[in-house]
C-alpha cells in the first residue's frame, strides 16, 4: 500500500498541545538521576521559533524502552513512559524535565551512549526532523557508533552542554552555520 505522505502541522497545533514551554516525563515514582534540559529552536536567521513542536522519546534509567519490542521490558512501565512533547514558548525555548537515560543496546552489540531521541515539527516544516541529544559529561558519548555516522565537525551540534548540576543546554538550529544534524532513519 502507498504510504500516507507528511504535511506541515501549521501554526495552530496548540489547540491539540496546549502546554507551552515545559514538558515533564517524571513522576515521584520514577527511578533515576533527575536532569533538566534547557532547549531552544531557532531558524536560519537566528530568530526563535515560537511555534515549534518538540517531542522526546527515551529509555528509562536502566536503558530499557517502554515498548513490547524491548527484550528487557516486562510490560507497561507505570513509573516511566519515556515520551514527552511540548510547544515552544514565545522565545522559542523549551524545557525537558526527565531522568538521565541508561544505555540502550546498539549496532554490533555495542551499548549506545545515553541519549534522547528528538522529533521537531512546525509551521514551515513539511516533514518531521529527527535528531538526538547526547550529554557532554558521559564518557561513552565519544565512542557512540550512531554519533560516529555524523561528520566529525558536526557532532558537537548533538551534544548537550552541562551547566549547573543536573542541567544541560541544547539548541536546535534548523538552518545556517551551526545547523543541527538531522537524521534519515
Amino acid at each position: 500500500m502507498l504510504l500516507t505522505p507528511s504535511q506541515t502541522v501549521g501554526p495552530f497545533f496548540q489547540i491539540l498541545v496546549p502546554v507551552q514551554g515545559r514538558m515533564t516525563l517524571v513522576s515521584d515514582e520514577t527511578p533515576g538521576e533527575r536532569i533538566v534540559v534547557d532547549g531552544s529552536v531557532r531558524d536560519g536567521a537566528g530568530k526563535p521559533v515560537p511555534d515549534g513542536l518538540v517531542e522526546i522519546w527515551q529509555a528509562n534509567a536502566s536503558g530499557s524502552c517502554n515498548h513490547p519490542e524491548d527484550p528487557r521490558s516486562k510490560g507497561p512501565d507505570r513509573a516511566f513512559d519515556g515520551f514527552g512533547r511540548v510547544h515552544t514558548d514565545a522565545d522559542g525555548r523549551f524545557v525537558i524535565e526527565t531522568i538521565k537515560p541508561g544505555s540502550v543496546p546498539g549496532p554490533e552489540g555495542q551499548p549506545q551512549a545515553p541519549h534522547l531521541v528528538v522529533g521537531v515539527f512546525g509551521r514551515g516544516l513539511l516533514t518531521r526532523l529527527v535528531t538526538r541529544i547526547y550529554f557532554d559529561d558521559e564518557s561513552s558519548t565519544a565512542s557512540d557508533l550512531i554519533l560516529a555516522c555524523v561528520p566529525a565537525d558536526r557532532r558537537s551540534t548533538l551534544i548537550a552542554r552541562r551547566g549547573a548540576v543536573g542541567t544541560y543546554q541544547f539548541d536546535i538550529v534548523l538552518q545556517g552555520p551551526r545547523e543541527t544534524v538531522f537524521f534519515d532513519v
Binding site: 500500500m1 502507498l2 504510504l3 500516507t4 505522505p5 507528511s6 504535511q7 506541515t8 502541522v9 501554526p11 495552530f12 489547540i15 491539540l16 531558524d43 536560519g44 536567521a45 530568530k47 511555534d51 517531542e55 522519546w57 527515551q58 529509555a59 524502552c65 517502554n66 515498548h67 519490542e69 524491548d70 507497561p76 519515556g82 515520551f83 540502550v104 543496546p105 546498539g106 549496532p107 554490533e108 552489540g109 555495542q110 551499548p111 549506545q112 531521541v117 522529533g119 512546525g122 509551521r123 514551515g124 516544516l125 513539511l126 516533514t127 518531521r128 550512531i146 555516522c149 561528520p151 558536526r154 534548523l174 538552518q175 545556517g176 543541527t180 544534524v181 537524521f183 534519515d184 532513519v185
Partner: protein, 238 residues
C-alpha cells in the same frame, strides 16, 4: 558491560521523493526553516523501533466527538470521519492514538494567533483524540472546516482540511498530515498540498465521500485510511 546483541526488525524506508521536501519555496515559511545540510543516514536501533504505545493517558469516551465538547453544538455541516490505520503491508495498527485538530465551519481556528476575520464559535474548540480498535479502525464526529486565507501569497487560501497526528507502533511510524475533501476547488492552488510531487501520493490525502458512512438525517460520512511505515522482511543485527 556485557555486549547485548540487539536483533531488531527495521522499518522500511519511504521511497525517495515520496514525502514533500522541506525546501519548498512556494510555501514561504519553509525558506528559513528547512535544513540545508544533507540528512545523515543512521541505522535503526531499539531507540527508534520502539516508541510511545502505552502512555497516552486517559482518553474519554467523548474525546472523539468535537460537536459535544461545549454546552451547545457548533454551527456547520456535521460529518463523520472514519477509517483504518494500517501499515504498508495492510497490518492493522491496533490501539494506536489518532488525534485531529481543525478550524471551525467559518474557517477560524480557536487559537490566539488566528486573526482571520471570521467568527469564532463558542461551541467549538477543534481538537479530538481516539484510540484505534482491534482492526485499526478510528472514528471522529465533527463539523466540516471552512477554507481560510493565509497570506502565503496574494489571495492565498488553504483548502478545507483536518490536521491528523498519528503514532503507530514506533517512533519511526509517527506521522503528521492533513486530510482534504474531495472536489475542493482550492487544492490545485495550494502550495502545501502540492509540495507532494506524486499525484498518487497526493490522492492519499483526499478523503472519500462514503454514503455508507453517512448517517441519515444526521451527518455526512467521509472515509480516510492512513498508511504508516511497514517492517522489512529480514532482521538486522548479529
Amino acid at each position: 558491560m556485557s555486549r547485548t546483541v540487539s536483533r531488531i526488525l527495521p522499518y522500511r524506508r519511504p521511497p525517495a521523493g515520496h514525502h514533500p521536501p522541506n525546501d519548498s519555496p512556494d510555501y514561504r515559511s519553509t525558506t528559513l526553516r528547512h535544513p540545508q545540510q544533507p540528512l545523515v543516514v543512521i541505522p535503526q536501533t531499539l531507540s527508534e523501533i520502539t516508541g510511545p504505545v502505552y502512555g497516552y493517558g486517559r482518553i474519554g469516551p467523548l474525546d472523539n466527538d468535537l460537536t459535544r465538547q461545549h454546552a451547545g453544538e457548533p454551527l456547520g455541516e456535521r460529518i463523520v470521519i472514519e477509517g483504518r490505520v494500517l501499515d504498508e503491508d495492510e497490518r492493522p495498527m491496533r490501539e494506536t492514538l489518532v488525534e485531529i485538530w481543525q478550524a471551525n465551519a467559518a474557517g477560524r481556528y480557536a487559537h490566539k494567533e488566528d486573526t482571520h476575520d471570521a467568527p469564532l464559535d463558542s461551541n467549538f474548540s477543534g481538537a479530538g483524540r481516539v484510540l484505534t480498535d482491534a482492526e485499526g479502525r478510528y472514528r471522529f464526529v465533527t463539523i466540516k472546516p471552512g477554507a481560510y486565507p493565509w497570506r502565503n501569497h496574494d489571495n492565498a487560501w488553504r483548502p478545507a482540511h483536518v490536521h491528523f497526528s498519528v503514532f503507530g507502533t514506533s517512533f519511526l511510524t509517527r506521522l503528521m498530515t492533513q486530510m482534504y475533501f474531495p472536489g475542493d476547488p482550492l487544492m490545485p492552488f495550494d502550495p502545501v498540498f502540492n509540495s507532494i510531487s506524486s499525484e498518487r501520493a497526493r490522492e492519499r490525502l483526499i478523503a472519500s465521500f462514503d454514503l455508507g458512512l453517512t448517517k441519515p438525517e444526521w451527518a455526512l460520512g467521509y472515509r480516510f485510511d492512513i498508511v504508516l511505515r511497514g517492517r522489512d522482511a529480514t532482521p538486522m543485527g548479529r
